[in-house]
C-alpha cells in the first residue's frame, strides 16, 4: 500500500464504503458524484442489477489536483451488501486505506449491521489487516426516517461503535452528513500518512 509517493509526488487513497445491503453506500457515492465538478471526477463505474442493487461494486475516482505539490487522488469504492457476494467484498477491500461503515439506522436492521461489521473484520483479517489499526468511521444513515423506525445516535453508538471511532448521522439521499463522513475518513487516512507512511 503506497499511500504517499514522494518520488512521483502522488497521494492515492482508497476508501471503501462498507455496510449491509440497502444501507445507502451507493447513495453516498452518488451524492458525492453530484457535487464534484466534472473536471475533477472520473467516470463513476457502477455495476448494478436491474433493481439497482450493486452487483459488483461502484468506483468513483476523484482527482483533487495538486495539493502541496502532490497529485492527490481519492478512489471511492462500495461493496455489494448482500451476504452472498462476500468474495467480491473481500476483493474490493484489498489495499483499502480507510473504511466508511454505512449502517442502516432502522431498528429492525440492527442485526444486519452487526453481521456486516463482523464480516468486515473477518475480511480485513483475511488480508492480514487488523481493523483496530485501520482508519474507520461510522455513518448512521437514514436518519431522515420517522423517529419510531430508527434508533437514536446514542443507541447506535452503543450497539455498533464499540471502538469509539468517529460517527456521523446522515441522510445520504439528501446529502446530509455525506461530506462530513468523507472528510472525517480522509482526514484519518491522511493523518495516518503523516505518522509513518513510507516516505
Amino acid at each position: 500500500m503506497s499511500l504517499v509517493n514522494f518520488t512521483t509526488r502522488e497521494i492515492t487513497c482508497k476508501i471503501v464504503y462498507y455496510g449491509p445491503g440497502r444501507s445507502g453506500k451507493t447513495t453516498n457515492l452518488h451524492y458525492i458524484y453530484g457535487r464534484v465538478p466534472e473536471s475533477r471526477r472520473g467516470r463513476m463505474v457502477s455495476l448494478a442489477t436491474q433493481t439497482d442493487r450493486t452487483l459488483f461494486f461502484d468506483f468513483l475516482p476523484i482527482d483533487l489536483g495538486q495539493i502541496s505539490g502532490f497529485t492527490t487522488r481519492f478512489q471511492l469504492y462500495t461493496v455489494p451488501g448482500q451476504v452472498y457476494y462476500n468474495a467480491t467484498r473481500r476483493l474490493v477491500l484489498q489495499g483499502a486505506d480507510g473504511v466508511v461503515f454505512v449502517a442502516d439506522s432502522q431498528a429492525r436492521q440492527l442485526d444486519e449491521n452487526l453481521e456486516s461489521l463482523q464480516n468486515l473484520q473477518a475480511n480485513l483479517l483475511e488480508h492480514g489487516v487488523d481493523i483496530r489499526g485501520l482508519p474507520v468511521v461510522m455513518q448512521y444513515n437514514k436518519q431522515d426516517l420517522p423517529r419510531e423506525l430508527i434508533l437514536q445516535l446514542l443507541e447506535l453508538d452503543d450497539a455498533l461503535n464499540f471502538r469509539g471511532v468517529p460517527s456521523f448521522p446522515a441522510d445520504a439521499l439528501h446529502g446530509n452528513g455525506v461530506f462530513e463522513t468523507l472528510k472525517a475518513i480522509t482526514e484519518l487516512v491522511l493523518r495516518r500518512l503523516a505518522q509513518g507512511a513510507p516516505a
Partner: protein, 653 residues
C-alpha cells in the same frame, strides 16, 4: 498605571495552530531569553486573534522563568496618558527613567501611534535606550508597521529590524480546539457536532467565536433539550450566512439547504490536512530556522532545504545543524577564554563554516601562550628558614592551604636579597601543583613590557584574557609600577577580578606599599587590605644553612670554622652572603688552595673599601642600581672577571 497581567492569558491557555504557530514560537523564544532573540518583536493581526493574550503570555512566562525581571504591560493609550500626566506634573524625566529600567516592555495596540509625532519620538527614544541596554520590547498592532499611517520611518525600520510576525485567522481545527478548550474552562458540555458546527461558520475572529460560545452556554443553561448541530445553526442564525442553494440530491428533492460548494469546502479541508501531512517537515525546519536565527546563527543551510521539493531526511539535517551549532558554541567559548576579540568573529556563527571555525580556534589556541610561570630554580625546598623569615614562610604555607581565601593579597616586603623573589617563586611553584591551575609569576617589569607590546599590537583583549585565565597572579617588585598609570589600571582590574573569584595574589616589594612613590591610592589600599609581611636580614640560622648549602653545591668540604666565620660576617641579605662565599671560593680556585676560614679572612678582610656596606636603594632582582646612581653591588661585578694578565693579552691584540 501599568495594567496587571491577566493570569488567564498564558501560553498554556493559548491554542496553537498553523495560523499562529510562528508568532507563538517567537513569543516563547522571547519569553525564555528576553532581549537576546527578537528585539523588538512585533506581532500584528486582526482584532480578536490573540495579540493581547500572547503579549501577556510573554510577560507571565518571562516573569515565571526569571522572577527578578521587571515586566511591564500597557496599551499605547495608557502609556500616552501616563506620559501626558507626567509631563503635566513636570515629571517627564522621571517617567522616562522609569521605563528605561523595564526588562520586558509589552506595549499593546501601537497602531494608535498614528499622527502622534511626539509619542513616536518618545517611543523611538525609549526603544533605542532599551535595545541598547539589551532589554526586550514586544509590540502589537492590528497592522504591520509599514501600514500604520504617518509612522516615523525610523520607527518602521526599528520595528522591522527585530521580528515582525502576524497571527492569522485560525483554521477550522484550531477553531474547534479553541471552542473545546473554552467550553471545558467553563465546565460546559455540548453534544458532538455542536462546537464543530460553530467552528465551521465563518466568524471574523476568535473573540466573536467566544461570543457565540457564550450564547450557547447561556442557551443550554435555560433549555432542557440538548443542543444539536441543527438547533445550533438555527440559534446562531447560521442559515443566513450560507447561501441558500437547494441541495440537488439523488431524488431531486430540495429540502436540504447546503453550502454552495460542499466539494470546495471539502477540498480546502483536505488541502490543509495534506499540507500538514506532507509538509510537516517544512514546519519543523522553519521552527528550527527561527530558533537558531534568533540565537544569532546563520541558517542558510536549513533555508536551502526549504527550497527543495522533496525532503532529504530533514530531521537528520536539523539534528546535524544543532550538533554543528553546539560545536561552534564550544569553540567560541574556548576562544573566548583566550581572545575575546577573536570570539566575536562571524565564523563562529555560521555552521556552514565549521571547518574554518575549527581552524580559527586552533590558531587562537596555538597563539595563546600561558602567562609566565614561576621559575623552577627557586623551589620551597631550597628556601632557608630561620627566625628572620619564619613568619613569612608560615604565612606562605597558610596561603598554600587555602589559596585565595586566607591572605589575599599577600605582600612580601623586605630589603633586597632577603629571599622575597625566592619565596614568591616557591609559592608559585606550589600553587601550580594544584590540578587545573595556571600560575602567572613574573616580575613587574616583564608585566609592564608585555602590556606595552600588547598595546602596540592592538592585542589588549588577548593580553587581558591571558591573565584572566590565571588562577593565581604573583608579581615581583611591585614598586616598579610607580608612575605606570596604565599598568596600574590594568592591574587594578585584574586585582578585583582575582579577589572576586578568590584567586591568590602575591606581590613583593622592597618597602611597605604605602611608602612606595607613584602608586595609586586604590592599589595601595588593596595591597594593604591583604597581609603585608616583612622578611628581615637573615639571622644566623639562615646564614648558616645558606653557607652550608652553597659550599655543598660547590663541592667544598664542610669546615665548621669556615662556616662560623662566614656566618658571623655582617651581611644584610642572603644574596650578599652568597657573594662573599663566591669570592672566597673563586680565590681558593685561583690560588689553588682549599677553602678555609683563614683564606676567607684573608680575602674578605684584606680588602679595604670592599666591605663598605652599600647604601640601600630600591632594586630589582638583577643588578643593583641605587637611588644615588651607579652600580653598588660589588659582589656581583668584581669576582667574575678574568685574571688581569689574560685581559691584557686580549687588549694588545
Amino acid at each position: 498605571m501599568t495594567t496587571q497581567l491577566n493570569p488567564k492569558f498564558t501560553f498554556e491557555t493559548f491554542v496553537v495552530g498553523a495560523a499562529n504557530r510562528l508568532a507563538v514560537t517567537a513569543a516563547r523564544t522571547v519569553a525564555e531569553s528576553p532581549g537576546s532573540a527578537y528585539n523588538p518583536l512585533f506581532i500584528y493581526s486582526g482584532s480578536g486573534l490573540g495579540k493581547t493574550h500572547l503579549l501577556m503570555a510573554i510577560g507571565a512566562s518571562a516573569k515565571r522563568l526569571a522572577p527578578g525581571l521587571n515586566v511591564e504591560y500597557l496599551t499605547l493609550d495608557e502609556w500616552v496618558e501616563a506620559f501626558h500626566a507626567a509631563i503635566a506634573a513636570g515629571q517627564g524625566d522621571a517617567f522616562r527613567r522609569r521605563f528605561q529600567t523595564v526588562d520586558v516592555l509589552l506595549v499593546d495596540d501601537v497602531q494608535f501611534l498614528t499622527n502622534r509625532r511626539e509619542m513616536q519620538t518618545e517611543l523611538l527614544r525609549l526603544s533605542e535606550a532599551l535595545q541598547t541596554a539589551g532589554r526586550q520590547i514586544v509590540l502589537t498592532s492590528d497592522r504591520p508597521p509599514a501600514e500604520i499611517a504617518a509612522l516615523d520611518e525610523r520607527l518602521i525600520s526599528r520595528f522591522s529590524g527585530g521580528l515582525v510576525v502576524d497571527i492569522g485567522m485560525p483554521d477550522y481545527e484550531t477553531r474547534v480546539a479553541i471552542l473545546r478548550r473554552k467550553a471545558e474552562e467553563r465546565g460546559a458540555e455540548f453534544p458532538p457536532g455542536v462546537l464543530e458546527t460553530v467552528a465551521a461558520a465563518e466568524f471574523a475572529n476568535v473573540r466573536e467565536l467566544m461570543g457565540v460560545l457564550n450564547r450557547l452556554v447561556a442557551y443550554s443553561a435555560v433549555n432542557e433539550a440538548p443542543l444539536t448541530s441543527e438547533s445550533t445553526q438555527a440559534l446562531l442564525g447560521l442559515e443566513q450566512r450560507t447561501a441558500a442553494t437547494s441541495g440537488k440530491s439523488a431524488d431531486g428533492s430540495s429540502e436540504r439547504i447546503v453550502s454552495p460548494d460542499e466539494f470546495a469546502a471539502f477540498l480546502t479541508d483536505v488541502t490543509a490536512t495534506v499540507g500538514k501531512a506532507v509538509e510537516a517537515w517544512r514546519a519543523r525546519i522553519a521552527e528550527a530556522i527561527l530558533r537558531w536565527e534568533g540565537e544569532g546563527y546563520r541558517t542558510r543551510r536549513l533555508e536551502s532545504l526549504l527550497e527543495q521539493e522533496t525532503p532529504v531526511a530533514p530531521d537528520e539535517e536539523i539534528a546535524n545543524f544543532a550538533k554543528d551549532v553546539e560545536r561552534l558554541r564550544a569553540l567560541e567559548a574556548e576562544v573566548q577564554q583566550f581572545d575575546p576579540q577573536a570570539a566575536g568573529q562571524s565564523v563562529f556563527r555560521d555552521p556552514e563554516r565549521l571547518a574554518e571555525a575549527e581552524e580559527a580556534a586552533s590558531r587562537v589556541r596555538a597563539g595563546a601562550a600561558p602567562p609566565p610561570a614561576p621559575s623552577p630554580a627557586l623551589p620551597f625546598s631550597t628556601f632557608a628558614v630561620g627566625a628572620s623569615n619564619q613568619l613569612a614562610v608560615n604565612v606562605a604555607r597558610e596561603v598554600l592551604e587555602e589559596p585565595g581565601r586566607r591572605y589575599n593579597p599577600l605582600v612580601l616586603i623586605g630589603k633586597s636579597g632577603v629571599g622575597k623573589s625566592h619565596l614568591l617563586n616557591a609559592l608559585g611553584l606550589e600553587l601550580a601543583q594544584h590540578p587545573g591551575s595556571i600560575v602567572a609569576c613574573l616580575s613587574t617589569q616583564t608585566f609592564i613590557d608585555e602590556l606595552i607590546i600588547a598595546i602596540d599590537g592592538n592585542r589588549m583583549e588577548w593580553w587581558r584574557a591571558r591573565y584572566r585565565r590565571a588562577t593565581a597572579l604573583l608579581l615581583d617588585d611591585i614598586h616598579l609600577l610607580g608612575g605606570k598609570d596604565r599598568t596600574q589600571e590594568e592591574l587594578f582590574n585584574l586585582f578585583n577580578l582575582f579577589q572576586d573569584l578568590e584567586r591568590q595574589l602575591v606581590f613583593t616589594s622592597p618597602a611597605h606599599p604605602k611608602t612606595l612613590p607613584g602608586i595609586e591610592q586604590r592599589i595601595v589600599s588593596r595591597l594593604e587590605g591583604g597581609l603585608v609581611v616583612e622578611l628581615v636580614e637573615p639571622d644566623r640560622d639562615v646564614r648558616r644553612s645558606v653557607i652550608r648549602r652553597t659550599l655543598w653545591a660547590q663541592d667544598v668540604p664542610e669546615d665548621p670554622a669556615l662556616i662560623d666565620y662566614l656566618a658571623d660576617r655582617p651581611v644584610d641579605s642572603v644574596r650578599s652572603l652568597a657573594g662573599l662565599l663566591q669570592r672566597v671560593v673563586s680565590a681558593a680556585a685561583g690560588q689553588d688552595v682549599p677553602v678555609s676560614a683563614g683564606l676567607a679572612r684573608e680575602v674578605l678582610e684584606g680588602g679595604t673599601a670592599a666591605e663598605r656596606r652599600r647604601t640601600v636603594g630600591f632594586r630589582t632582582s638583577g643588578i643593583v642600581v641605587s637611588s644615588a646612581g651607579g652600580v653598588r653591588s660589588r659582589e656581583k661585578v668584581v669576582w667574575d672577571w678574568a685574571a688581569p694578565s689574560d685581559r691584557l693579552i686580549e687588549d694588545l691584540r
